[in-house]
Each structure stands twice: as structure tokens, then as C-alpha cells.
């Protein structure tokens, strides 16, 4: 239902809360309950706005959701029904023009994961209930307003679109810094919401009209959907709580918006009917300028800036070279496969951070592992990666269910990698791409075989474009992969690929991607061939190379190309990258082992070999590179188990002893543990490569109990346990007892560690122990955390109390010995 006439101004209403307070709403009383009990008061407010010129009134339902109403004694759906009906009655009482009723939904009021505890599914369910109740009550559209977190907005929009036919409007609340409290950037908001197919979007609350202009301009640059501007009347006074701006000043500051073609205007906190009256009197009913989608269909669509994004960062797709990091992919990587199987998100998050720091612009996410639940893993990995980087993602899978899981989990706008030129494949995947408004990679090949030359690649590309056109996916969102094949096997193909890239980018006008490193497979000195091919391909029009950003030479060549092709204005990025680099880069030299230091060490012990002394010294000093190097040397002569038992653990014990005696302190203990972990990692890598027996001393589950979000203590314990050779299954924070029990059963562990920092969450600890005991699980339980005492631990039935990480290791030794 398209109810927005782009040629006419649409006036919204102003504040509801302040009007209600003036009409007798008490502090702490829920406005929606007040509205249900006093429908006449609320109806009168709606009528005032309608008389002052509002075309759309927001029902008094802003805070009505199941989370805010938990324990209130009121039924949310009833509250929504009552308030929407009141607005409906007010709207329908007007004869001369059509007044629309918006179901108004604000944020749920809790921060979403990973920073908060609210899950995407909980948010989705919460909004679904609101939308269903609002639609039943006769709302004409739904407005999600005052939003801060783009993930929450996504849950809201999907809940509305998947469960109702109501048009969806979204406005978010920005600070003067240009971002929301949760860090959402207006450009990212516009890209994401345009992709999700909302009907209008914009800004409300927080600031006066003038201060919102930069955010509105950023949104305008990314979308031609109708834009909503609903500002506050300035800022509130700390003594009175009231707002200072007059309707006249408000109107003057709003003048810029109709001139930009923005035609949905209203007011938020501190405004009242006279503000709306002022807008209507000044701007009339006909839109002065028009830049909306329906009217401007003749204009060049590419004027809008295209891009992919996370909530807080946009990577423009403007033809300039953007690096797609390839490292999150288990293919041929035993250690990565193991991490996926063990749900070791820490390992994967490290891969993500490393690539981000190396300069990746987009991260490819591939979790294809035989026998694994790919959609589940995709969701888990996407969320984990987005919790530690702000890079946009590329969902890499050929399984429709995994692709959809990835697109649902991702916050922002993503790329799907990939579809082939087979119609069947396109019909499976393109509807999903369209639904989530993603960009898509089209592989220029068919099931029937690899293309033999550039011409065949282009034919395949055209076949893909025919399908994307059919599904209404704009060309600017299509990325063609012309296939880089191994030059040592099919030498003639390298040039065919380059010709195809050139044609696709210049003639078909699409973006191009390539898995660049394939080219040099099987050759000596691979990076020479890879870098050379990459440079030529970029010149031909490759703008989204999929590479390993941790390889210095690759990133160097991209930096050089950017400078040479004027993509790097004034060569400033090039200069910044290379200014301090010595002519013979140290990164190209093998790192020198720290053997020299070994001889002069205080931890010297006559019985130890030189390497053992060196490793002990390096652990104590917290030098990971040295520990790794010494471990490598020792591995030539000793078994993995011996190194762990005779070198790494005694070194850690020595550090632990110093910590006990307060000779060193916690950061140094952790530094030492981290250094030891460099040795363990090397051993694990070797073992993963040879499929050798595990060196784990036992598996331990760690969790911060339900309701608690402070998990730094638990994480310290984890680092230390791991570096004593234990395998830790880290369930994270805010973990329900049932989940801990399930994991304990699944991994068949002998020890579960529970942490709680706050007095308010201690009962969860007790409950978790109860659940484990009642289920008859034989595990021992160790508890710790700031507020836990030895007495309390006993009282709630824990087997061990650990005051710190060291004592947890003692508990682990007692259990696994």
C-alpha cells in the first residue's frame, strides 16, 4: 500500500509525553496505561494535533512492549489496542481530509547483544507482538522511532514486514557527533533500511532542527526514499525539564528541509500543536522540491552513493579498489576447521581483527565444514565477527539456508558470495538477496563446466545479469567474478580472465571480484605472481579483490595502485604507509630468535637446557614471539607433551608463585600466560596439521551466570586455564542455567566454572548449581567472582571456591589429575 504522495507535504504530530504530563500523567506512570484509562484525554490531544495540521498522528504506544510491561500487571496487547483505537477514533472523526494513524514503537529499552543481553530473536518476537496488535487495532502504518541500535531496527523491520502488510517507517536518534548512542552512522542507516525495503526513513528526537541537518544530508545521499524529520524543540533545562525553543525558531530552522525535497515533517520532545501549525502555515501543502523515487525515475540512479556497511562503517562501492579479506574460511586450514568445530569464536574473532588491522575493507565469511550445521555456524560467526570489527561482511556460501542465516544475522548491508550462471541456482538464491537488499557476486561459470575463454565468461555474466534484472536487483549491486584459475595448470587462462574483467567492468558496468591468490597455486615464490596478476587485474577494472590482507606485499601493491590511479588523493595514504618503512623492510626478513637474551637471565637454573631456560625466561617476561621461537626449536628435540609438562607449565607456575607473593601483578601474570599461549598455539597448529593426539589436559566449561554481563574475570581465568593446557569451552556471559547444563552434557566435562560479579546475580549462580545437580550431572563446580566468598560457595553447593585464576587452576588440577 503506497500512501505517500510525494508531491504533497505530510505533517506529523508533535510530542505526546509532555502533553500527557500537562493533562495529569504522573511521574513513573506508564503513558500508555494512562491513555488506556483516560482515552478522552488522549483523543483530545490527537484532535489538537489534527486541528493544527497533522496528517499522520502517532498512537500513544511508544513504550508498550512486553519487556517494559513485564511485571506491570497490564497486558501489552490490550494497551496497544486501546491506544490505537483512541487514535483511530480521533482520525475518523475528521470529515474533510484523510488522517492516518501510525502505530508508534520505540526501542525495547534494553541494549542488544553483544553489548547488552537482549537477543535478536527476543527483539523480533517483542516487535512482532506489537505490530500484530497494532494492525489488528486498525493502524495504517507502523513507525519505529527514537531508535539507536541498527540491529534492533533490523529486528523491528523484519518483524513488521514478515508479519503484517503495514507500511514501515523508521526514524533514528542521532547525537551532535553524527552518530546514535549505539554508534550507528546515518549513511549506514540509510543503506541498511533502503535495502530492507522500508517505506520512509529519517531522524527524530535528541536535537533541534538545525543540528540534525548533517545527518539528514548523509541519509539523502544514500537513498531516494521519502525522508522524515521530527526534531526536538532544542535541549531540556536540567532544573525544569522543559524545552526552550519557540515555534517560530523551530519553523525557521525547519525551512531548509522542504527546500531539499523532504516532505514528511513533525516535532518531537518539547513541541506542541502550535509548532505543527507553524510548519503547516509556513510550508503549505504542496511539496516545493521533489526528489522521491517514483517521480525521479528518469534521473540517473547512480547519483546515489552505493555501498555496503556495518552499523558504524560504510565501504563505498564506487569503483575504487576495496580489499575483501579472505581469511575467515576453513578450506585447507586444519586449525580453522577445529575452531569451527569447537565453536572457538575467539580464534575466529582474532582472524577478523587481524585482517581489519591489516587494512581490509570487507570481510568474507565462509564457514562451510562437512557435517556441520552451516546456517547455525554462519549466524554465530557473523555475530562474533561483528562484535569485534566494524567492517561490512560478505556472506560466502552456496547453501541458501546459510546465506539467509548470514543475511539475517548481519547488522548492516552485506554482499552474498555467490550465485553461478545456472538458472536453478539463481532462482534459489536471488530471492533471498532481494529480500535483504544485499549485493551479490555472480560467478561467471556454469554447472556444465569452467569457461574456456573471456567470451564464455562474459556470456555467463550476461546470463546472471538477466536473472538479477528479473528479480529487480540493480546492476550497481551486482559483482561479477571472472574466475582466476591456476596459471601453473592452465596458463592461457590468466589473460582470458583479465580480458573478461575489462569487459565486465567497462561494458557491462558491474563491479568485479576475483579470488586472486588462486592464480599462483603450485608456483614457487607465489607472492610475485599473485601481486603481478593483482596489479594487472586492478588496471582492468577489478575493484573488489579477495585477498589475504595480512600479506604485506599484497597490501603494498594495492596501496601503490591506489596512488597511481588517483584513488588516493595526493598519495597521502601511500605516503603514510611507506614513509617510515626502511628500504629493506624488516617484515620481509625472518624474525631473529631471542636466543641472545637467554644467557643473562635471573630465572637461570643449572639443570635446564639452554632452550628450556630461554623459554622460561621468555614466559616470565611475557614475550610471545620469543616463546614461540623457543618452542619451535624445542620441538625438534622433544615431544609436545614434554614441552608442555617440562617447560611451559613450570614456567607458568614460577610466574604464578611470583603473583602469589605479589612480586608481580595481574597484568603481568596475564602477559606471561599470553606469552606461554604463543608456545601452546604453535604446538596446537603442529598437532592439527598432523592430526595427532590432543594435548589437552581436560575440558572445562566457563560461564558468567545469567543476568551478569561483567565477564572480564571469567576471561582472565580462561586465558590462564588455556595456558595450563586445558581446553576451555567459553559459553560467554549472561548464560542461562539450561545452556550450561546442555554444554556440560554435550562436552561431557568434569569441571564447570561459574562467575558472577554482582550481588544481584548471585541467585543465578545458585540456580545454575541446582540445575546441574538436579539433572544428576557428575561434574564438579568451581565458582568465583568479586562478590563470591568461600562461605557462600559452600552454602550454594559448589565444590571449589577460587579467589582468582590461580586457584581455578588448582581446582582444575584436583579434578583432572
Amino acid at each position: 500500500m503506497n500512501m505517500i504522495d510525494n508531491s504533497r507535504m505530510i505533517y506529523l504530530d508533535g510530542a505526546m509525553g509532555t502533553m500527557l504530563q500537562r493533562s495529569g500523567l504522573k511521574m513513573g506512570e506508564k503513558p500508555e496505561v494512562f491513555g488506556m484509562l483516560h482515552p478522552d484525554v488522549v483523543k483530545e490531544i490527537h484532535l489538537k494535533y489534527i486541528r493544527s495540521g497533522s496528517d499522520v498522528i502517532y498512537a500513544n504506544t511508544f513504550g508498550a512492549n512486553s519487556h517494559k510491561y513485564e511485571g506491570s500487571g497490564y497486558d501489552v496487547e490490550e494497551v496497544i489496542l486501546a491506544n490505537v483505537r483512541t487514535a483511530r477514533a480521533a482520525a475518523d472523526s475528521v470529515q474533510d481530509r484523510k488522517i492516518l494513524v501510525a502505530l508508534d514503537a520505540g526501542p525495547i529499552g534494553e541494549l542488544m547483544q553483544p553489548l547488552g543481553t537482549l537477543s535478536f530473536d527476543e527483539a523480533y518476537d517483542c516487535f512482532r507482538q506489537v505490530v500484530l496488535a497494532g494492525e489488528r487495532a486498525g493502524a495504517d502504518l507502523v513507525v519505529f522511532e527514537t531508535m539507536s541500535d541498527l540491529s534492533e531496527v533490523k529486528a523491528a523491520v523484519l518483524a513488521a514486514r514478515e508479519n503484517s502488510s503495514l507500511p514501515v517507517w523508521v526514524t533514528m536518534t542521532f547525537e551532535k557527533s553524527g552518530r546514535t548512542f549505539a554508534g550507528t552512522d546515518p549513511s549506514a542507516m540509510a543503506l541498511t533500511l533502503d535495502a530492507l525495503g522500508v517505506d520512509a526513513l529519517g531522524v527524530n528526537c535528541s536535537l533541534g532542527p538545525e543540528d540534525l541537518l548533517p545527518m539528514v544530508q548523509a541519509i539523502r545521499a544514500r537513498t531516494d526514499l521519502p525522508i522524515i524529520v521530527k526534531p526536538n524543540a532544542g535541549l531540556p533545562d536540567p532544573r525544569t525539564g522543559s524545552y526552550a525553543m519557540t515555534p517560530q525558531l523551530f519553523r525557521r530552522q525547519m525551512e531548509v528541509y522542504p527546500r531539499m525535497g523532504i516532505h514528511i515533517l513533525g516535532g518531537c520532545c518539547g513541541t506542541n500543536p502550535s509548532f505543527i501549525q507553524g510548519l503547516r502555515d509556513a510550508f503549505g501543502s504542496i511539496c516545493q522540491a521533489d526528489s522521491s523515487r517514483t517521480v525521479s525515475s528518469q534521473t540517473d540512479e547512480t547519483e546515489l552513493l552505493n555501498g555496503v556497511c556495518s552499523a558504524s562503517r560504510v565501504t563505498d562501492l564506487d569503483g575504487r579498489v576495496r580489499v575483501v579479506g579472505e581469511r575467515i574460511n576453513p578450506t585447507g586450514k586444519k586449525r580453522f576447521q577445529q575452531a569451527l568445530r569447537e565453536h572457538d569464536m575467539n580464534y575466529i574473532m582474532k582472524c577478523a581483527i587481524e585482517q581489519a588491522q591489516a587494512g581490509a575493507d570487507i570481510l568474507d565469511i565462509n564457514v562451510g565444514l562437512p557435517g556441520a550445521d552451516e546456517p547455525l555456524l554462519m549466524t554465530e560467526v557473523v555475530r562474533a565477527v561483528q562484535s569485534v570489527t566494524d567492517l561490512p561482511l560478505q556472506i560466502d556460501s552456496s547453501t541458501p539456508a546459510a546465506i539467509e542465516a548470514g543475511l539475517r544475522a548481519v547488522c548492516g548491508r552485506a554482499i552474498v558470495n555467490s550465485v553461478s550462471a545456472d538458472e536453478e541456482k539463481c532462482r534459489q538464491i536471488l530471492p533471498i538477496v532481494k529480500k535483504y537488499g544485499a549485493c551479490v557476486v555472480g560467478l561467471a561459470l556454469k554447472k556444465s563446466g569452467m569457461p574456456k575463454d573471456a567470451k564464455e565468461r562474459i556470456e555467463n555474466a550476461r546470463a546472471i545479469l538477466k536473472m538479477t534484472d528479473e528479480y529487480g536487483i540493480p546492476r550497481r549491486d551486482v559483482i561479477i567474478d571472472c574466475l582466476a584459475l591456476t596459471v601453473s595448470a592452465q596458463q592461457d587462462q590468466a589473460m582470458e580472465t583479465l580480458h573478461a574483467v575489462e569487459y565486465a567492468s567497462r561494458q557491462l558496468g558491474v563491479h568485479c571480484t576475483l579470488g586472486v591468490s588462486n592464480i599462483s597455486f603450485g608456483l614457487p615464490m607465489r607472492k610475485m605472481a599473485t601481486v603481478s596478476f593483482l596489479t594487472q587485474a586492478m588496471y582492468c577494472g577489478l575493484d573488489l579483490p579477495i585477498v589475504n590482507p595480512n600479506q604485506l606485499e599484497i597490501m603494498d601493491s594495492i596501496a601503490s595502485y591506489r596512488a597511481l590511479s588517483c584513488q588516493d588523493p595526493s598519495c597521502s595514504a601511500y605516503i603514510a604507509r611507506f614513509a617510515d618503512r626502511p628500504a629493506d623492510s624488516p617484515a620481509l626478513r625472518p624474525t631473529a630468535p631471542a636466543r641472545a637474551e637467554a644467557g643473562t637471565d635471573p630465572a637461570k637454573d643449572a639443570d635446564l637446557t639452554q632452550e628450556s631456560q630461554a623459554i622460561r625466561s621468555a614466559v616470565i617476561k611475557g614475550l610471545p614471539k620469543e616463546v614461540r621461537e623457543q618452542t619451535r626449536l624445542l620441538m625438534e628435540r622433544k615431544s609436545a607433551m614434554d614441552i608442555i609438562e617440562q617447560d611451559l607449565i613450570p614456567a607458568l607456575d614460577a610466574v604464578g608463585e611470583k603473583y602469589e607473593k605479589q612480586i608481580i601483578f595481574l597484568p603481568q601474570l596475564i602477559n606471561a600466560a599470553n606469552a606461554a599461549s604463543a608456545g601452546f598455539d604453535l604446538i596446537k597448529e603442529r598437532i592439527a596439521k598432523t592430526d595427532g593426539a590432543s594435548v589437552s589436559k581436560g575440558t572445562i566449561i566457563l560461564a558468567t551466570v545469567e543476568g551478569d554481563i561483567h565477564d572480564i574475570g571469567k576471561n582472565i581465568v580462561k586465558v590462564v586455564l588455556e595456558n595450563y593446557g586445558y581446553t576451555v569451552i567459553d559459553l560467554g556471559r549472561d548464560v542461562p542455567p539450561e545452556k550450561i547444563l546442555k554444554a556440560a552434557q554435550e562436552y561431557d566435562v568434569k569441571l564447570v566454572g561459574l562467575s558472577a560479579l554482582m550481588t544481584t546475580t548471585l541467585p543465578s549462580m545458585e540456580k545454575t548449581i541446582q540445575v546441574l545437580r538436579e539433572a544428576g550431572h557428575p561434574c564438579r563446580i568451581v565458582v568465583g567472582g568479586a562478590v563470591v566468598t568461600r562461605e557462600y560457595a559452600q552454602q550454594i553447593g559448589a565444590d571449589y571456591y577460587a579467589k582468582d585464576a590461580r586457584e581455578t587452576v588448582e581446582a582444575a588440577r584436583a579434578v583432572y589429575s
Binding site: E110, L115, F181, G622, Q668, N674, I709, A786
Partner: protein, 244 residues
């Protein structure tokens, strides 16, 4: 409108949180350990750069504050007074005794710091610990600055601020977080939200109550007696207190 800043993150406080006693021989020994000193400096810089302080406050006449010194479960409060907020407990009642106005305040370092902490916990747990400590000190520093600025505004009127007191201390229960944040419209105005267990997100946030009175008075503190951590407090075991 007061806009608090982090004037400095006190090095002594950081060492104290990390378990080193200020001025002890151990500290002096450690001060010689450049690696720890450098680490602290680096982490402090990161936290300062990432902190984006948002602060909301209201100053209300005492007539709009409902006080109930008998504790949250008693029915001592007179509902006909219709206060904007009710505060329960002996400690808070004692703090606000004889005041004309009360200040309710909430401030946060914002989600930016949380994100940095989350990322650093993956890459370097030791840095993460030091940053966590720096961030906790930074919140306190910002709250101190708020007090300082407000005191400055009150001084010409010959009015004074009492101590700052926060839910979760003494018998002033953590459950006050919700009404205080709601009164301040803090989720909308500063992005501070609460979990169902009354923990603030972003975690590096603080709420506080202060009184405004006509005469300067000895700052009264809640003391350790009712602190849940008293039995295992490491400050106390070193004859120190967490409040200065």
C-alpha cells in the same frame, strides 16, 4: 548545562585497582618496571580517546523527593505527596537530611569504550584488564568533574554539594537504578539502558544522588559496615578504603 570531562585518570587509582598499593615498597619496585608503566600509559590513552561522555541530570526540590529511611519494603512513605521519585534507605536519607534540593545524575563513557574493551579482550587480555581498570577510573573521574563544576556553580549562591552516593552502596539498593534512569530519561538522552538484573549498559556508567544544602558540611560516607564486599575487601585488608 554541565558537561563533565575526564580531567585525569589518576595513576594511583589505577595501581590500586590493579592490586598495587600506592606508596608501598612493591609499587616503587614495580615503578621501575617500565613495561607495566608503559602498558598502563598506553591503555589509559586508548580509554581516553574512546570515551565519549554523555551526562544527564536533574535538580529537584526536596519536596519532589520521597524519602523512606526504613527501607524499600516498609510503607512509611506518604503517597499523597506524589513525589517524582522515591529513595529508600537510611544512608540516602542521612545524605539528604537538611538539603533544599537533590541532584540526580547519570553519566556514561558510551558504547565506544565497551567496543574497545570487547575487542581487546580477544586480542590481549592483559591490556583488556588494564583498560577496564582505566575505564572504571575514568567514570569516577568524570563524576568527580561533574561535582566540581556543579559546586562551582553553587558557590556564588553560598550553597554546597553533599557527597555523591550511588545505588548499590550501603543500604541504597541497586534497584534504584531503574527509577533514577527513568526520571532522567537516560536511555533517550544518554543511551544508558538497564538489563533485567538492574545492571547498566554501557557498563562503564554511573548514577548518583547528591544533596544541595546551605552550609558546607563534613562529607559523610556510607562506610564499610553495610558493604557486601566487606568480608573479603582487599582494600580493607591493607588498611585502605575504596573511597578516598
Amino acid at each position: 548545562m554541565i558537561k563533565p570531562e575526564i580531567r585525569q585518570i589518576n595513576t594511583d587509582t589505577i595501581y590500586r585497582y590493579l592490586g598495587l598499593q600506592s606508596g608501598s615498597p612493591l609499587l616503587r619496585e614495580e615503578a621501575g618496571d617500565l613495561r607495566l608503566a608503559d602498558q598502563i600509559e598506553r591503555c589509559r590513552q586508548t580509554v581516553l580517546e574512546a570515551s565519549k561522555i554523555r551526562c544527564v541530570y536533574r535538580i529537584l526540590p526536596m519536596s519532589l523527593i520521597g524519602l523512606d529511611s526504613a527501607g524499600p519494603d516498609s510503607a512509611g512513605h506518604d503517597p499523597s505527596k506524589s513525589p517524582e521519585i522515591c529513595l529508600h534507605g537510611r544512608d540516602i536519607a542521612r545524605l539528604l537530611e537538611g538539603c533544599d534540593e537533590a541532584v540526580l545524575m547519570a553519566l556514561t563513557l558510551g558504547v565506544e569504550v565497551e567496543k574497545v574493551l570487547m575487542r581487546t579482550e580477544v586480542t590481549d587480555m592483559s591490556d583488556a584488564l588494564v583498560m577496564d581498570v582505566c575505564a572504571s577510573s575514568a567514570v569516577e573521574a568524570a563524576a568527580d568533574d561533574f561535582e566540581l563544576q556543579l559546586s562551582g556553580e553553587l558557590l556564588p549562591e553560598s550553597r554546597f554539594l553533599t557527597n555523591r552516593f550511588s545505588p548499590g552502596y550501603g543500604d541504597f539498593e541497586l534497584s534504584h537504578q531503574r527509577p533514577i534512569l527513568e526520571l532522567l530519561n537516560a536511555s533517550r538522552a544518554a543511551g544508558i539502558t538497564l538489563t533485567p538484573t538492574s545492571l547498566m549498559v554501557p557498563r562503564k556508567s554511573v548514577t548518583a544522588v547528591m544533596g544541595i544544602c546551605r552550609r558546607s558540611r563534613e562529607k559523610v560516607l556510607g562506610g564499610c559496615a553495610r558493604c557486601p564486599l566487606m568480608s573479603k575487601c582487599s582494600y580493607r585488608s591493607h588498611n585502605l578504603r575504596c573511597f578516598i
